[in-house]
Symmetry: D4
Subunit: 222 residues, 8 copies
């Protein structure tokens, strides 16, 4: 029986120079032996740090102890890295979520920012069914340079927030919910047709992408 | 060529006694000669008033003058009736819409209430991209017994309002918008998965249905 | 490995005062350690009772005995609470289902009513393939103030019932069925386009929501 | 500019012998010059009668008078034929519709039966929002050998009827309705998942197909 | 923890008299303790036989030996019954499938016929990618009174067969396939729009329904 | 009011050298003044012939006579060109369609082949509801090097043909049909999941694409 | 017949101060008399300029000459304004489109930028089927601060460009194409799942939204 | 309990003679006992080799050692065969994939070619987010007679490649990705509407089908 990790991989190490964003390894769907190999390789590597996303706790727990010890793993966000990129001082990103159930995406965004050396603040559970939550935070949020909003279900937070901030705003729908939440498609579509103008939208659960978009904005300051 | 209005129709005149709601004629898709016949018949009829919905201005304008004069027609809502039902004093319904583009549905609800003799107030253009609009009206809205909310696009108004009122709340998505508004399906799904609990939802553009639901609640007071 | 229950939660304890409905914890998708913590916290709490929904038997059975003993758990409806809200005498709600397979939703509605102190009667297995079932019950059903109808598949019960009762009627589609039942979307759409007017519709399997809508109506009597 | 009616057509005149059903011409989408040519050809033809379906009044009215006079045209059903097939005595088909808006499909079925020489009775406007309509007719309906049910919206009539008749029952969903009626897909899906067993379903608006299915059953008696 | 089998069930034992079809128990989604109870009850029952459908081998194998011994179980079709209905001599049904992967549906239809005492012949693996398979069987197939065709993927067999038989023909799409087979929706839609006229279509994988439709035709002969 | 034909266009005249296929102008959605300008330009041009596709008769008829005279226009296929490419002798393509309603696609493929100088034969109306049509032609079809099959509705012809020819086979679904034909998506999906292996599928109504695919195969012979 | 322009409108003139973006009037679906009134009002208004989007040429041409003369109208982009906002020097935006058919969206973005006083360059017809088009422009594009990419069909341009620029990149799918282009949904989904990270996506055809997002980024520089 | 492998199977051993392609066994969904029987039968068989596709490692590992030893199994592609068909020298096929996550499809195509005796080269990880990967390989790719392109997500590789090669090109979308990747439907649709002409598309994950299409082209050379 042929080995499953014979698959050809070509890392794009020129990418940071070209687009200002590092490569990442999307772990979902990759065989555990491939992931173990990559985790070992990149935790030993000091020149080119790399971010692992969608690395499920069930998978990570099966790794040998020395592999687990070699990286900084965060279970809620399902991310891992051995070391972060140099910090980018000055600019800051606010990450706001509608509910605690959105945490796996909220923290994927936050951890990607952390990995890229970008300062950020996380504001969870700010959904509009209780508007006072958002009202008490908006002034502070507007002190950041970029706003990432994470929401599932009706994603009403994105529209309300879009009407309260002049900052670049990136919205990530989440797959939270059942029935007509449609695995996140309802939140996605609500964000795309939001009555508040100028909101850039990302794929369902793609906290990583929104963090990269924030980094693209921060590239302008460097 | 056989006549198009030979189609068999059986009016359900026992319906008011059975469910407290009068019959209505849904005009869309009916041949103009059928509509003319029905408009004549029911404007002459004094015992059993009837409501005509989805009667397009383009169609109504083609009717003979005496048919036009025989009914009270309202172009925005596309409704007509010869006379209203007896008024039901005491209870009141608030009809709130997100934008002026939702007017055809907002007023279908309002006119159906008017036809059923139910007092109501209309609050248009209360969308959440400018939260101050809703904030300035919520106290007054909560003085009504039932709230009907009409919204297209992301329908975020329904969720915000659902978190601010303890009243029975009926939500009507509208087909306003383009692209991922999906002809109103995005608004519909947002309302169905709203983070605010206890909101009864209706078919896209069905202002008539929400008014009937309000009437069912008011039936309890009589 | 960071702890999964560090996620930020902000309970909206002002909600009952604002909208007349208590907060609930939607358990699906929450980590078992988070749920255990919340169950402990709220069974000790006597001031602010809370309802747990979508708490699967497989999950509940894994809780320590003292946590299980601290709450009133109901396996069919997958709900739990430590104590109910004060009873609201006078008004009563009928909960009618099409088939026994809809029980998980039927009883979610019934248990939510029980938790909110609202009197109710449950009529299961009243589907229209055998019309005699419904016929024998309709007079009794009409003695209630609000009617909740629960049905999957073609949801024909909602339309038939809507033509036989003048009461506020809230319809919950269920995910029962296979193939073109489309996980409940067919039942949902059938309810939305029902030929019987004034039926408020809820998300698929959302018995909790319909019970909250009934409570909003009963708020009018207090 | 090349002529549009040069398209190659191969009539399948052996079909009646093979499957007991005659050929038909589906007119929608065919160029008016093609239709005129076919109408002339088949009204002159006495050996092989043919049925024209989906022939819109707007199109038929543009035909020369002698072409119009050469066929029996029925505007509601949009069908035409020059002569019918020999009558098939003995067996009878009931065609029942939910509403008068379904007439274009109801009568397509009825006219196809008429063309095939099959006795039939039409019962329109029998929808379940007023159950008394169906109740007063069911005994008579059950005296027919085959039942065709035509309904749009929630198609609840199909389920109710399926629980009241032991006859072969063929259901045709119609495109009547708006919003979540989804152009007839909701009615179609409701019929497919009906709680009443043994109902054969046809494409949206395909009254012709259901009449052919009835003819297949009647083939057994000859 | 409340017992899961307290759910209210009302068997419709008057159904055979009313529509000529016996009741069946759809097992999927029912709790194993409920199924065990029903299997015991109906294997003891001699007056009213009942058919169990969608009873998975994994579930049946967990039943106590005496319950397993009390019924005639068939793993491919996932059906069980304690005894069949009286045989209905004279009429015969052909069940034809496109591929061996469709067997779970093919045999659900066949077993339902067996249970209802209807003679039948099964022709598997007759797909049109090798037309010779069907060609060699068509003459024999046409000696039956009713034809049931079972096919997944493109369901081309239904169209080809519909052009070769004058008999009532009932088509069941199957969920066989991947990707754009869409869980059977492609086969379903292909059957609904088939170029061969008069084919009644059933829900995806609903072999039971097609057998009931065949029984409705055979009701005419008794 | 700014002129609508100021839009920037960059023709890819290097394309034939790179991929062996000439550029084409897709006319649908282009403003009539833009089309007139392009038709004039390319009918004067002798070096670089170009193909116009989706040029509706209603649009073409509005062009000045000298523009109409400058090109070879074919109304059924909605194509135009001033001159063809040099003929490619030797290889031949068969274009087979299921029905005469598919002609607009059938002939788009044929005309594109003609424009590219490729010999071809067209076989229309070969649908499988009457298998004799295909049977009488299959031997002749197999004398061509490439087969293009055009079909709407259930697209069963593609599967049957795929089981009868060893040649490269390209399948084009058409938007012919109503209801669950879903504007050609049912035909498309049927072709994609066909039980006959090795069929390359094209976008709905894309006869042009299939002809280009045939040309890619014929590129191998030159 | 009541007047159609009695609908309540509440302009949000505080919006620029709150979110740095001016209000716009979305004209599609608004009655021509409403549009005429608004165009008159805002061309007279010198304090608060406003942008009109989706103002179709067919509608604009019906306006009285003095209304037409009062605004700067651009037919391709369907936009109008009486005067622009003060120019914002320094920062520049590149607008790149895949094909000339995307022009109505490309220019909606460009005109919105022009109206907001933002410098920009438009690069049309840069699709990847001829990669040389993009290659020759990429260096120049990267001299801008923000990149807007407009593409329909497969939207491959967004992915290729995302891998070649470190700038904030906003992608607008267009409704160009037929069949499986699905009115722009295929382009939208391709952009959302692009293999190039950090691309913010907008609703189908929403060039206005992408320009607002660019303005949000430029807000950071002021 | 009846045996699950009693299902009727009719192998189409005349297929190679008829269409130049051998039969294959699609293993997914088949019972393990059926697969074991078939693997034994065909590894003993020397006259008629057969290919097994979609044979999951988890299933294969449960087979007895002698069954495992009797075939050449490849885990990534999930394929097995006992012996290959005679080699077809001369023509060669390039198989190019966008990412390493597409490997299960890439290698299904490659292994099917190997089984059919067709020379081929595999180029993995050539996605367009790093265009240099494809650029460095295109000249070599164009030395093959047929190109198979395998890509998930936005499938932009297919369009870019289609603009760089004159060879027959067959595109296979993969189910790689999450959210709006829609299980491969986005990649499929992108390929169908590609701006590069003449690309034949296959079902999601159907590497086997593309290899068969390549074989149909190579049939022309023999």
């Amino acid at each position: 029986m042929k080995n499953v990790n014979e698959i050809g991989v070509l890392f794009d190490h020129a990418r940071p120079g070209r687009i200002g964003l590092p490569e990442a390894v999307f772990c979902q769907g990759k065989h555990i032996s491939v992931l173990e190999k990559l985790l070992r390789e990149f935790s030993a590597e000091t020149e080119r740090p790399i971010l692992f996303t969608r690395l499920e706790p069930e998978v990570f727990e099966k790794m040998p102890a020395e592999v687990q010890d070699g990286v900084n793993y965060h279970a809620v966000s399902r991310t891992a890295y051995a070391r972060t990129l140099p910090s980018r001082p000055g600019a800051r990103v606010a990450v706001i979520s509608a509910g605690s159930a959105d945490a796996f995406v909220t923290w994927e965004a936050a951890r990607t920012l952390e990995y890229m050396g970008i300062e950020h603040t996380v504001y969870e559970d700010s959904g509009v069914a209780g508007l006072w939550r958002l009202a008490s935070r908006i002034e502070e949020v507007n002190k950041h340079q970029v706003v990432i909003v994470v929401a599932g279900l009706d994603a009403a937070l994105a529209s309300v927030l879009g009407g309260l901030t002049p900052k670049p705003i990136f919205a990530v729908p989440t797959s939270v919910g059942y029935g007509q939440a449609l695995g996140g498609a309802t939140a996605l579509n609500s964000m795309l047709v939001s009555c508040a103008p100028g909101i850039g939208v990302f794929n369902i659960d793609n906290g990583y992408g929104a963090a990269c978009a924030a980094a693209r904005v921060l590239n302008l300051f460097q």
